[in-house]
Amino acid sequence: MSSQYAVEMINIHKTFPGGVYANQGVTLKVKRGEVHGLLGENGAGKTTLMNILYGLLNRDKGEIIINGEHVEFESPTDAISKGIGMVHQHFKLIPPLTVVENVVLGSEPIFGRTFGRGIIGKIMRALMPIDIKMAVEKIIQIAEENGLHIDPYAKVQDLSVGLQQRIEIIKTLYRKADILILDEPTSVLTPQEVDELFETLKEFRKAGKTIILITHKLRETMALCDRITVLRDGKLIGTVERDNTSPEDLAQMMVGRPVVFMVDKGISSPGDVVLKVQDLHVKDYRGLESVKGISFEVKAGEIFGVAGVEGNGQTELVEAITGLRKPTDGVIIIDEVDVTSKSPRFVREVGMSHIPEDRQKMGLILAFTIKENLILGRHYRPPFANGPKNMLLNLDRINEISDDLVSKFSIKTSSSDAFAETLSGGNQQKVVVARELAVAPKLIVAAQPTRGLDVGATEFIRNTLIKMRNAGSAILLVSAELDEVRNLSDRIGVIYDGKIVAIRGPDATPEELGLLMAGHVQGVD
């Protein structure tokens, strides 16, 4: 325990089958008791590096030293035994079980301390069933010490994404992790949840834990991290102290060029009404009404932002407009065509593009190649289809257009024939966005369009959206990120409990919007 470093990964190399050289001699040194940021563009190799540290992937070359001791991890079990915990972007909880049950899987038994720490104690503890009561006490203790309040008897399936993430963190603490890896923890959280998470992480640092944080949001990095390591194209660019750097510098390190943070969108010149929603009622999958009479209009050349805490009816609203869910009542008109309860293909034919909020569930077919994904939704008509009755795929044109999109949206891949599942999270998102923005649609429904994208790609997508607005598209933007909504929108509708409770201009303050989103309508008016 002589070293000042909790984690030292030295000269790590990793090549994936297919030839992607994801880590090229990366060295990462994390001091004990610091919050260490890991930054890099989409596909820079961050997730790969962390999966190697957590024992999920094998490295080709390189050394890993934990607290001064050389280690070889065969599996995450080994990593856990060295005090490493990881919160993946997609959680690994069992929904029908309670919080305690999820946390304790394979832990403390009844009479845990009665028999001492000798061999007899070990065997006795091994033979006893798990002491749920003691586990609950321990969870409550962990929760209190770290400000992670949670009901130990709640079922996971009833909890919000933010609370589920909290369970994952508690789980690592329960297993006595003192090195915590968090892979893009904030991209699924609402702004309040992000603030809470950061408070927690600060507590952890005070308690001497070491934290590695992956994020694309430079503001978060600057607020929390002590030191920051930047990767680009699988190579180490450098490690800097927070106090000696700025968001601009970091962006420059990541991208290799300066990045503009505020998009300059100019004033809009709205034209005719493109999307008209009237008194819309929609039920969710459980049959509960979740859109309760929404009406609004979006004009050509205008971005209409919908701000709201997740779960207030945004998902169902978007699904109804795009033809994926039949509304129970109300009318939806796109470009003077009634599309209420029509099929997704019909709505697309009218001129709608849709960036869905969940890229893996809906936006992509992971086992399709990038090419095949880039034509989804327009695959059945020219230029992608030809021959009699457009029955054949026009492979030449598909190749041409998809290679074009891959380079235009800088999708990082060895070839457009690679499967979508081999792309990094952000590059998967780029495929969806590229496909949906490739044509000039009349209406763009964009749900969380920049989720998981790096600063450069975010800037690019936002600029593209504005260009399309200026070219006359109507854009409905749904985003959990208040900054994004405020930056891009010409008008902002606040959704709360299935209703649009207020419509504001882009100059509305975050505080005002925050109050509205929390349902305090009277307080503001």
Binding site: S75, R117, S343, M362, L392
Partner: protein, 501 residues
């Protein structure tokens, strides 16, 4: 190869196109995922042969000799190999095509029967000129088989009836229906001792190709491979079917009508099986005979599995199985190994090929046990074994009860034993649920099961039951599992704690 080279090559000419196609194929073959698939298929075959040789050894045959004659038989009679492969190619394609759309067409056998029946009727009832006659027979056979597949497709798409159930049921319906049609009560009986139709007109027969039995159906089967490959990879319909099969949500989002695609895929799949049946009737049998198929439709499933549901894979797999059949004859005649050994080898190959794929499928679609198994195999394996054991205990418990009833004298001690078995059976269900959902307090149930089995064993000895030994073995087995779960799992945890403190 990089993108710019390719796009240059795309510019012009048929020569270039062919070159592109070859380049594409070369790329596919050298692609690591294909290579892995290929290596695994090959390894499965080797494994299957090894296990089979063990079985042969136990049964008293010389596996080395058997395999030598298997190979000699296959290579000396290539015509026979291809003859056996001919229908398997089509039924394999049938199953594979449905699978591309995410459907399990278990009913290829029935579609094959209906198709062959239709072709036979067309072949002997209606007189047509040569060339036209066989084509008409094939067409009508494909259509009939297609309808037999289309109906479950419709039911699946619009009524949600699971295709495994409906195709399976329709399969038996088809076999029985065609059997009745040619029986002595049926309308198409030829009046002989055998339930069959009169022979097809000569104009309707498929001409022989080479050797004794190989007929022109082979050419048709190979054309079908090209056609299905083209359909899947080059047409809009194939694209949509694959999309529906891989991610129905994304397909719907992309404006694809999955119901329509499901119905069409099942129809086409049935058509291929119908074609297989027609070919056999017109090329080999010359008439429809009740129960003529040696399970060609069922074998289609195994062919598709070994061929990894790709048309060219199906072709290779069908030829391999054809080789096993052809060589199996020689092996049987010379070494005396029963011909069923071929089916054993075939089954083992498929088992080994499918095992990792089933696990992968479960990982993607199923229980968290398999998910965590990938990450950390120890704990989940115990959970998995334990939950399976739970089911086994349930079955055994119920079985034991019935065996007790069949004892000559039913004493009070037997009644007590039966009671214990009832408890054991209930416990089996509990164990399954508890372990399957990974509840942390699962261990106690296992221990209780061990105790109950022991009690049952003792009672069996006292009451002169027959299954004392089984009970004791199970008692030991459950106890070991309990120990493994508790002791080893817990020691690991305490070791972790010690390391940290």
């Amino acid at each position: 190869m990089n993108a710019s080279e390719l796009s240059d090559a795309q510019k012009s000419g048929i020569g270039q196109r062919i070159e592109n196609w070859i380049l594409g194929l070369a790329k596919k073959v050298t692609d690591p995922s294909y290579r892995k698939q290929f290596i695994w298929s090959f390894a499965s075959i080797v494994l299957a042969l090894l296990v089979s040789s063990l079985i042969m050894l136990i049964a008293g045959y010389d596996p080395g000799l058997a395999y030598v004659y298997l190979a000699i038989g296959a290579f000396s009679r290539m015509d026979l190999v291809l003859y056996y492969a001919t229908p398997l190619i089509l039924t394999g394609l049938s199953v594979a095509l449905a699978f591309k759309c995410g459907l399990f067409n278990i009913g290829a056998e029935g579609q094959l029967y209906i198709g062959s029946m239709a072709a036979a009727l067309m072949g002997y009832l209606i007189a047509l000129p040569i060339v036209i006659h066989p084509l008409a027979c094939l067409a009508i056979g494909a259509i009939a088989g297609g309808l037999w597949g289309f109906v479950p497709g419709l039911l699946k798409a619009y009524r949600g009836a699971h295709e495994v159930v409906t195709t399976m049921m329709l399969s038996y319906t088809a076999i029985l229906l065609t059997g009745w049609l040619v029986s002595s009560n049926g309308p198409f009986w030829d009046g002989s001792m055998v339930p069959r139709t009169p022979p097809l007109l000569d104009t309707a027969l498929l001409p022989p190709l080479w050797g004794y039995s190989l007929h022109t159906g082979l050419i048709l089967s190979i054309i079908a491979v090209f056609a299905v490959d083209f359909l899947i990879n080059r047409t809009v319909l194939g694209y949509e079917m694959r999309a529906v099969g891989l991610n129905p949500d994304a397909a719907e989002y992309g404006g694809i009508n999955s119901k329509r695609n499901i119905a069409i895929a099942m129809g086409l799949s049935g058509g291929l099986s119908g074609l297989a049946g027609s070919e056999e009737i017109m090329g080999t049998y010359g008439k429809f005979v009740a129960n003529w198929s040696p399970g060609l439709g069922w074998d289609g499933i195994t062919v598709a599995v070994l061929g990894n549901n790709s048309p060219w894979g199906v072709l290779a797999a069908a030829i391999f199985f054809g080789g096993l059949r052809a060589g199996g004859n020689t092996m049987h005649q010379v070494v005396g190994v029963p011909i069923e050994m071929v089916s054993v080898i075939q089954g083992l190959v498929v088992l080994f090929v499918a095992a990792p794929r089933i696990i992968n499928w479960l990982v993607d679609n199923g229980n968290t046990i398999f998910k965590s198994m990938k990450e950390d195999p120890f704990e989940p394996s115990i959970n998995l074994v334990s939950s399976i054991l739970g089911l086994a205990i349930l079955m055994l418990g119920l079985g034991m009860i019935t065996s007790l009833y069949s004892l000559p004298s039913f004493t009070w001690i037997n009644a007590a034993t039966a009671l214990v078995y009832v408890l054991v059976a209930i416990l089996g269900v509990m164990i399954f649920i508890v372990y399957w959902s990974k509840r942390p307090d699962a261990g106690w149930f296992m221990l209780l099961a061990a105790v109950l089995w022991t009690i049952a064993g003792v009672l069996e000895i006292i009451g002169a039951g027959m299954s004392a030994l089984t009970s004791f073995i199970l008692a030991i087995f459950t106890f070991v599992l309990w120990l493994a779960d508790r002791l080893i799992g817990r020691l690991l945890v305490t070791k972790k704690e010690d390391d940290i403190e």
